[in-house]
Symmetry: D2
Subunit: 386 residues, 4 copies
């Protein structure tokens, strides 16, 4: 039974996560999680906050001498910015009067959260709705990645476009279409895209938006290799692998769209051009000639790469703010407020997408093969493969 | 605590659903559910099965004298085709030898399900993976629709395109963009699209595909009106309204893509063109000048229509079958098999999309306002609105 | 992911259950479930209803030719009494005026359910709160029993006492303390107790209560053999096997008390007299010299029989009714109402206890070993045993 | 949606809890939680560990300026003993060789946990199976207590017996049977029992056990006042209030038995002596003449005090250890091992019982009345009462 909860305000003392259900005896390294946290913090177009935070995780339970115990794992990531916020964000009552935040930013949770929870101070909303929360997921994903590695499963992401600059049409999605060197190039690029020329174009586009006091969204792709045939099921709607992937991707802040495999493109042609022909190799292996299904048929993984493309809207905090409303007075105002923010987070969102994919696949692998120790889990897995 | 399970094979005796958590005292009419079931069965491009089935629901528990009791509601829909399948699908062992289905159809669960469950006869897979299962969801959705009506919430769907014929670019999504007469036109059209010319073009496209032994997918849009501000939350990733909508839509068989609001289009421009400006009216009402967010900001409903566009891949069962594999022999074969099927199910899929939206909104309304009777639930709701 | 829902009113058309998560390929026989249903209907002290009903299950989904498909299983048990209640319990509105039930029975859900759900007619409460609902659980348990048999796990129950007549002090609880012939004797006894003299005494006690217009409760014991070491966990409070067993037993209507192993008796002595000494046999087997722990240590099964004793209060419907209140008038009244009922249901409650134990163990076995087919699940299990 | 996870090893750096679903705007005080943590640490018969730890909680998220935000609340309790265990329990690999623990203690999770998780070092089991984990629950319960206070709900506990010394027969359980001064006396007693003479007798019994190198269990009672009519439901087995209370109590380490209301005593008499007569007062209030049902009828609260008695087995760690097995060699040994431990924890277990009751009632109140702010929740509650 894999489950986890995340907690933590953007300017509170820390982010805390409890992860339950990973088997005992799994070797886990803090460094792998930290590397993922750093990847989330990078990318061209980030604001000042990223200069303050140097995210690193601490395991506070569930791990002993580098191996999981089978008990719940606590991960904690300190907010270095906390020292500047101790009074404003203290858990205890404080003497000082705080001026509440009351002007809402279009596109953010400022308005909806204030109405829902009955908060007078928008600060009480934005501390949790902030996408700082995604660092929690990346940490959990970094743990899951180490579990998945035992089964030969890897998860990658790259950026396809920013504000319309980049790839628009889907490309081949078989294993061969993603050579290993491509991912090295992605990791080197400040835009997390393998094509150096495109990286430059994207940066230019972001600079332009920045000059305009504006922001950019974009599209990233997440790809998982080594996923065995048989994860997920059509048996009940909420257990389809596509349901879980849909849930995971649409849960990422600012995400407004997604496609599995050829996605919307499959709606523009006919069935004979879409469905992937299956072949049985002489070595007994199964493979498909194409991968328009993005690795999922009938709600179940088919052995091909799981491929998902995800659309991220532009950041709602604009340096040239849009008109809005002041909740304290109920008055329409010409300008919402600005608060330190990024111009583009698509590369970071891609890293969050990877984490969510790693989480979904971990849950699915555990549902099918999960024992109480990693040894037992691997034994179950190998028994199935035979 | 709203939850439900669906069960039933495509050619078994019936589909059965148990729905728990609707409040007591709610008036429910079988006719409303039946009307939704009929809407799912319609649409141009359906195959022979739809001529056999005249879906109608029976309430077997949880409803007395037209009102809910607060206990679990059992819904049952008979499969009229069952009489032709009693031996092949009997729960009891039968004497006759059955020839197993062994040739898998590309794009279907035939292959993945057989490997996952270790079935030798693909029939054991396809009976549940069949999209006949979506009738269950439509029935549950028809129940939810009657609950939502108490709060002034309505859910509609229409088809935007079929095999590339239709609308490609998103349009205005405010309440005014969807006049009531539009929905009447949709309900009259065999393609569930408001534009009569487009209906004809779509039908022509489907006929062409049929002549080629091929199939069509397409795009539908689901729209919900009257949703109050404050459903869903950013507090935990799995409770965002966007997460729940993502889960619901991506769970529909054949769905490969989705967008909330302006979706992928938001990734092609900048923030100042995307975010919806909030206005506070003299009457105290809140409204947004545009609805690119599709009614969800920060994972919470913002009072505007919830708008989702969903991409459905072409049906995988082709009259001119693609090459494939015979699982019994492991041999690659030139032609998979054909089994009675539809050519296009996009209108029906839209009705399923409506049902899933009704289910998601029912769950969200109950999470925020749910009491044990409809009276208590409405009282809680009205207290919040004030 | 094992889960199930039950539905159905006492005098509605049927009871319906959906069970999800049993692996594919498991042989299941309707006869085994029916035998359990009959065992629940038996026992000395039952009222007129049991003469009307001849409970039998029908599999409406998830089973084909005697084997599970891996899809959700629908079980349905008809209420033969329904023909007498069609008007009073119809799902559709009826013309006839129904006189509402308004006098509440002490000890029943009549009062609490009416207040909770805002029902004016107590009938709307008692149709679901009736312990007829436990037939649903017995049916689900009868399915689970067939799953557990594959692992050599058996579940039994017997009655220890009725209205104080019977065993008061716990006895030995090792495997040897329960010889097979004991269970044959239990199944033959109308009181489900192995001692023929005790059977007679219990019947005499029930007859006496019946003459007084009164009712009897009692104590039953559930015992499970063949449970492997390692089900449940201390890792999180809600996953302990003791938590699950506690949940299951306390969920049975009329149950007010329970003990695992020596239970309350362990609180009257000291640790050195309570804890079970572990031995490692020459054959490599583990065993304990005693079984005061009732098979659960640290929230995990230890390989000994799981033993639970459960206390059932007397039935609340008395032929000589107690004083109460009329909800329609709010007046205190001298006599509540009588409605056809049993005098003693302890033997039947024991059969329900068996079913709940079978359900808990099925869930626990699936959590540890569960694959998608019974073959895969057994392979995982055997791999663990080595 | 109320949910929580606890994490932390006994000698790890800290215990961590994430609690989700409490409404926004609730005033919470660290001092209330700390007081509960101290109550858990007290009681005569505790060992050396309790002298080291001075448990105190820190809110790391979800609370700002003394009020909840509606976001997940992180609670953390430091283990002061950690400084002595940093090497043995480090999350990172360490150079030093650690001698594994291999002799298992009868009655503990040592054996079952080692087999289940495949651990060679019993330390990997006992760090989480240790009842130090219950401090986590007490902290969560201390938070819930503050929520419940808003509805006038209070939870208390006291000890009824230790090793057979104390009350054996149930007593009156109506509100009047528990005068306020009784609870003051309980809080003053090192045995958490209101009768000073009994306190002395219990202490004498514990001293005797200690001299013998032995341990004591006992019975505690948890009582909740002010619970409104209508929490829980008979609608589905897992939602009965009795199910939830059963789950909560049986989840406490060392608990082997429980009773709601008159419990097993109801099985020794007949219905007319058991069921509680309901009266409707002139003031419109409902009350029962007795409370043998312990406040729960038909799985739903009936407005009377919820009363539960819980049996705790003697601590399994004995100063004069029992025979056992060494897992490393598989040899039967004459003496298991001793590790610093308590002689009697019944008073502490009672405080844990209070916490679990507070958690169950918080969940039930939120299910029925829960809004997103405390104001909304109270408004819903008051609307229901009218």
């Amino acid at each position: 039974m894999f489950r986890f909860l995340t907690a933590g305000e953007s300017h509170g003392p820390c982010l805390t996560m409890i992860v339950e259900g990973l088997p005992a005896g799994l070797t886990v390294e803090k460094e792998v999680v930290d590397a993922d946290l750093r990847r989330r913090q990078g990318g061209y177009g980030r604001g000042g906050r990223m200069k303050i935070e140097k995210d690193a995780v601490r395991f506070l339970s569930g791990v002993r001498h580098g191996k999981t115990l089978g008990s719940p794992i606590t991960l904690q990531v300190e907010n270095l910015d906390w020292v500047n916020w101790e009074e404003r964000m203290n858990a205890e009552p404080v003497e000082a009067e705080m001026e509440p935040v009351t002007r809402v930013r279009p596109g953010h949770a400022d308005f909806t959260g204030s109405i829902k929870y009955g908060h007078d101070d928008v600060r009480n909303v934005i501390e949790r709705s902030s996408s700082r929360e995604t660092a929690s997921r990346v940490a959990v994903g970094g743990l899951c990645r180490q579990f998945l590695a035992q089964f030969g499963i890897e998860v990658h992401s790259h950026v396809l476009s920013v504000a319309g600059v980049g790839y628009e049409t889907p490309r081949a999605m078989t294993r061969e279409a993603y050579p290993d060197e491509m991912w090295s190039a992605v990791e080197e690029s400040p835009m997390r895209t393998a094509d150096a020329t495109l990286t430059e174009k994207m940066i230019a586009r972001i600079l332009e938006a920045k000059r305009d006091g504006d922001t950019c969204g974009g599209v990233f792709e997440v790809v998982a290799f080594g996923v065995p045939i048989g994860l997920g099921t059509f048996s009940q709607w909420d257990r389809r692998l596509s349901t879980r992937v849909g849930m995971a991707m649409m849960s990422i802040p600012s995400v407004k769209a997604m496609e599995i495999g050829a996605g919307f493109e499959t709606t523009r042609t006919t069935g004979s051009h879409v469905h992937d022909v299956l072949r049985h190799g002489e070595n007994g292996n199964w493979s498909h000639l194409t991968n328009n299904a993005g690795g999922i048929e009938g709600g179940i993984s088919n052995g091909e790469p799981i491929v998902v493309r995800v659309g991220v809207k532009p950041i709602p905090t604009l340096a040239h703010p849009l008109p809005s409303v002041d909740l304290a007075t109920g008055e329409n105002i010409d300008q919402s407020r600005y608060e330190r923010s990024d111009v583009c987070v698509v590369p970071a969102a891609g890293v969050v997408g990877e984490a969510m994919m790693a989480i979904v696949l971990t849950e699915a692998v555990l549902e099918k093969f999960g024992g109480d120790s990693i040894e037992e889990t691997l034994r179950n897995y190998r028994g199935y493969l035979q």
